[in-house]
Every structure is written in C-alpha cells, then in structure tokens.
Amino acid sequence: MILTLLDRLEEWLITFLIGAATLIIFVAVVHRFGCSVPVPAIQDLLIPINMSWAQELCIYMFVWMAKFGAAYGVRTGIHVGVDVLINRLPGKTRNKFIIFGLLAGALFTGIVGTLGSNFVWHIAHTEQVSAELEIPIWMVYLAIPCGSYLMCFRFLQVTWSFICTGQLPHHDHSHVDGIEEETIPPDVNWLEMDDNLHPHDLKHKKLGNGSKEGGGK
C-alpha cells in the first residue's frame, strides 16, 4: 500500500518535473522574443517581468528529475551494463553475478546517499543561497541523499524480487507506439532467395525473374 503510493509519487514527480521544465524554458524563450518585438505596448508589458531565474530553476528541476528518475530507472531496468559475458555463463553462476551487480548498486547508492546527507547537513548550517532564486542551497542539494537512498532501496527491492521470482525488470529500448503487429509471412522459401547467400539449386526459378519492372504486387 505504502509502496504503491511511493511508486506513484515517484512517477508523478519526474513526469511533472520534465514537463514543467520544458514549459519554463519555452516561456522564457517566448518572453525574450516578446521583449524584442518593436511594439511599445508589448514591451511595456513584458520587460518588467524578470525571467532570468528560468535557467537556474530548469537546471535544479532536471537535477531532481535525474536523481529520482535514476531510482525509477532501477525499477524499470533501464540501467544496463556489459552483460555479454555473464549471459554466456550457466544459469546459477549468472544469477550470482546478477545479485552481486544489484548489491553493488545498492552499496554505491547507499554510500553516496550517506556522503550526500553529511554534505547537506554541513551546508544547511551556512547561509548559502542559490544565485538567482535565492533559495537555501541545502534544499537544492537535498536531491542527492533523497534520490540516492531511494535508489538504494530500489536496488534492494529488485534484488529481493529477483531472489524470489528470478525475474529482472527489463526496459525495452525499441518500443514504438502506433505500430500494428504485422509479421513477416513465414512461408518465404529460403531456397528461392536469390542473393547467393542461401543455397539454391541451379534450375530453380529465381524470385526477381518472375516479376516485371515496376510490377509490385
């Protein structure tokens, strides 16, 4: 229950951050254009608006998106490594390597989370603020410990479910929407393929010979 809530929260957060950051930069660019339009009325309206904070906010939003998105990525299995070698190993040894890799991920993100929280703790005692937005810098840097600990938790979660079910999350890099499942007809006769890459007998009628130029179907 709480886990589902966490999952949804994570998804909403990163979805919102990437969408909002895009809008902000778009508005900032449009605003800059508007200011250079030689119509006094528009200029009077736009120039007093200060958009210089847009870049900084965009960067911070993306850093937050990156940290939490990385944690989400563990859950979707998007972080890939060099698995050519271990895929050739027999099942049991391979499983050990996979678990080792996942735990190494948990270790690294755990260490980084701890380093990060130390760092945030120290910086929270200073009066440092960000350049444009003037928000306390520790709030910005909070993304490191939060994101890293969440990622650590995700790695442990994936390890646990791998041990229990033997399944890893898998991200499909080649997923495209809007394609009907059309499959290649299985009745292609290899022997008729005339590309000198397949064996064929000499008397066989070649595919290309039958059709006239331009005669498609």
Binding site: G19, V29, A66, A104, I179, D195, H198, S211, G216
Partner: protein
C-alpha cells in the same frame, strides 16, 4: 601504476554486468578511499555539480522531442514520402527504407526505435512484394543507425559535454557525412537490387509526391527548428532542444493527432526515465574523469603514445579499433563519456581537429551498433525479423562493409566533416 589499477578495477567491475554508471562510481570511490587522500566529501559535491550545467539539459529536451515523434504514424508518413520519391528506382521499397530510416532516425534520435518503427512497417511489405528477407533486414539494421550522425544527435551532445566542443558546430559538421552515408547505403541497396532484379514500385505522380511531402514535412521541420535556431543564434543549443520538444508536442497533438492528451504523461515519464539514466551515467562519468585528471592520466597517456612515435594516422587507426570494440559491449553514451576525455587530449596534441574527432567517434558508434557479435541494432532487428544473429550478420555484410569503408573516409579526410561548418563560418 595507478592507471593500471583504475582501468583494471573498472573493467573487472564492468564485466560482472552491473550498470556502467555504478561500476564507474564504485571505481572512483574505492580508488579515492584506498589510494589517495582526496577528501571523499568532494565526491558528494561532484555528484551534484557534475550535471549542474545548462548545456547538459539539452539531453532531456532532445529525448522528449524525439519521443513525441517516435510513433508509428510518423514512421508511416516518412515511408510514404520516401517511397513516392525513390520507390520507382531499382531497389524500390528497399531504397525507400534507407531514406525513411534516415528521416525518422533524425527526428526520433533513437536507433533501436528507428529499426522497429520503420522495420515493422516496411519489412512485411517488402516480403509481400517478393524481396528476400535478408535484403530488407540488412537495410533496416544499418540505416537505423543513421540517426546518431544526422543532427540533432544526443551522442554529439555527450561529446561536447565531455570535451567542451561547440554543439552547434558538431551538429553542422554531422550534416554532410550523415547525408553521404545515407547515399552510400542507398547505393549499395540500389546496386544489389539492380543486380538481382528486385521489384520496383510504380512511379508516383508529382501530386502524390506533394501530398506525401506535405504530410511528412511537419516532422522534418524539427531538424530545421534546431539547426536554424542554433545557426542563426536565436537559440542556444539547450533552448533549441526545448523549442524542439514543444514543437514536436504541437505537431503530434494538433497536426498529426497521433497522440491524445491521456498519452502525454506516459511520453513524459518514458522520456524522464531515459534521460535520468543518461544523466546518471553523465554524473558518474564526470566523477570518473575528475579522478582521471587528478591522477594526470590523460596527459600521461598522451606522452606515452607520442613517445611511442604514434603519428596521427596510426593513432586514429588505434582509436577506431578501440571504439569499434567498445561499441560492441556498451551503448554509445557511456563510450563517449568514458573514452572522449581520455582520447581527446592526445588527439589535440597530434593536431586533430576537435570537431573532426567528434564526428569520427560518432560514426564509430554508428558502425558499432550494427556490427556482430553484439550490436544493439542487430538484436532489435533480429527481434522483428525473427532471424538469428548469424543469419542477420550475413544479411548486413554488404552494408556493413560499405559503412566501414565510409568510416575510413571520415577518419582520414577531415574536410568531409569540416567543410560545412567552415563554409558557414562556425569555426
């Protein structure tokens, strides 16, 4: 000594199959912890400041722009435009496939997605028309990789982050080689089709061509928004990327109407997932190259290679070999981020132009995606064609061979990539 330890550790961690970003990070942590007295606190700061640059933010924007347009509907429009233009020549649909791949890859920015989107539509059509399956599979596997050379290209943004080269110049430099490679792949298809007399399509009338052009132009204008915006100086590259994202949103929602409003969160989430993965690799790669510089590795490598009497020609040959090898086991982003900071200082010392070097690396990544044993495109294509890797390897060889020849051309003829940006006064 420390170089050997760092690389030994990195490679050992990597071949256990853990995520590349994690192995980079763990290498840095364990080296700093055991071998040096660099305060480990600085690592935490680096993890934040590593991606705190506005230039890097071009990556999520480009991914978002590409994801909006990575849709079967867009692929279909590109295919009908391409086949109305070149379908009546030798090679018919195959030739159209090369062109459609180049167009689709340029706007979607993802090679595997291009292979699937174009391949899933055009391959069954080709088989129905009587093309052998290898012919189509070979074309789609290799042409799908065109996207990382034709701007906007995420691989080039990665290179520019790693080496501080101008993104705009790199994009411009990619135009001529990208078009040339598309032509080369098309020529191979044309030649083989003529030799074996494969079917051709009826010639399309100019009205049909115009209709297909009007349909696909909205997607293609994305390239113009990016390139025109950057070149004219209206946008910075990151702003251009953000504008491209908004533009492709408008196109897919209001012009093509491929997506409805309820699909938007899914597209955003997918893009965020993808970009977070890349940004995470960048953070850790920045950490890694920070370790490299603090240990003076690039300088040592440069001196060592120059002391061995390696001239530019031999050096580039070594680079090509190394990258092709790496291209087989890692994805382009990680390779560029790990290799570029190490190889770049040597290249500049040998007088190789940074932009030319960037294009060379990009072409290498492209070839690496489709050459056996484990190119990513091969795997994806094997999925949609239901052909084994060995079979596919046989199917792609004519195109792969021409790609390798093309790689040689790009490597030893800098003017090919540098001519356009020089003409435009960008360098």
């Amino acid at each position: 000594m420390s170089v050997a330890i760092i690389f030994g550790l990195l490679i050992a961690l990597m071949i256990t199959g853990m995520p590349i970003s994690i192995s980079l990070g763990l290498t840095v942590l364990s080296f700093l912890f055991t071998m040096t007295d660099v305060p480990i606190q600085s690592v935490a700061l680096k993890l934040f400041t590593g991606i705190e640059k506005f230039e890097i933010m071009a990556i999520p924007f480009f991914i978002l722009a590409g994801n909006f347009l990575t849709h079967g509907g867009v692929a279909r429009r590109m295919i009908s435009f391409a086949s109305s233009l070149v379908g009546h020549w030798h090679g018919g649909l195959g030739l159209a496939g090369v062109m459609a791949c180049a167009l689709f890859a340029a706007v979607s920015g993802s090679s595997p997605a291009t292979v699937v989107a174009i391949g899933a539509i055009i391959l069954p059509a080709m088989v129905k028309q009587g093309f052998p399956r290898n012919f189509g599979a070979g074309i789609i596997t290799t042409s799908g990789a065109l996207g990382i050379l034709i701007p906007p290209s995420i691989c080039m943004v990665m290179y520019s982050i790693a080496t501080n080269t101008s993104v705009g110049t790199l994009f411009m430099a990619g135009v001529v080689p990208g078009l040339l490679l598309a032509i080369v792949l098309g020529l191979v298809a044309w030649y083989r089709a003529r030799k074996y007399n494969y079917p051709r399509l009826p010639k399309a009338s100019w009205t049909e061509r115009f209709r297909a052009f009007r349909e696909s132009i909205w997607g293609l204008l994305l390239i113009l928004v990016v390139m025109g915006g950057i070149y004219s100086g209206v946008f910075t590259p990151t702003e251009a990327a953000a504008m491209a994202a908004v533009y492709s949103f408008v196109v897919c929602m209001f012009i093509y109407k491929d997506l409805s409003f309820k699909d938007i969160p899914k597209v955003l989430l997918n893009s965020a997932n993808m970009s977070a993965m890349l940004l995470y690799i960048i953070t850790n790669a920045v950490l890694f190259s920070y370790l490299m510089t603090s240990e003076n590795v690039p300088q040592m490598m440069a001196e060592w290679l120059i002391a061995m009497g390696l001239g530019p020609i031999a050096f580039l040959l070594v680079v090509n070999g190394l990258l092709l090898l790496a291209g087989n086991v890692m994805e382009p982003a990680s390779i560029v981020l790990i290799m570029a900071p190490i190889l770049f200082p040597v290249a500049t010392k040998l007088g190789i132009d940074p932009v030319h070097f960037g294009i060379l690396i990009t072409v290498n990544m492209e070839v690496g995606m489709c050459h056996p044993p484990v190119g990513l495109n091969l795997y994806v294509a094997s999925g949609i064609t239901k052909m084994g890797i060995t079979e596919l390897t046989v199917a792609v060889w004519p195109w792969l061979l021409s790609m390798i020849v093309f790689l040689g051309l790009v490597t030893y003829w800098p003017a090919l990539s540098l001519w356009l940006p020089r003409m435009l006064g960008m360098m």
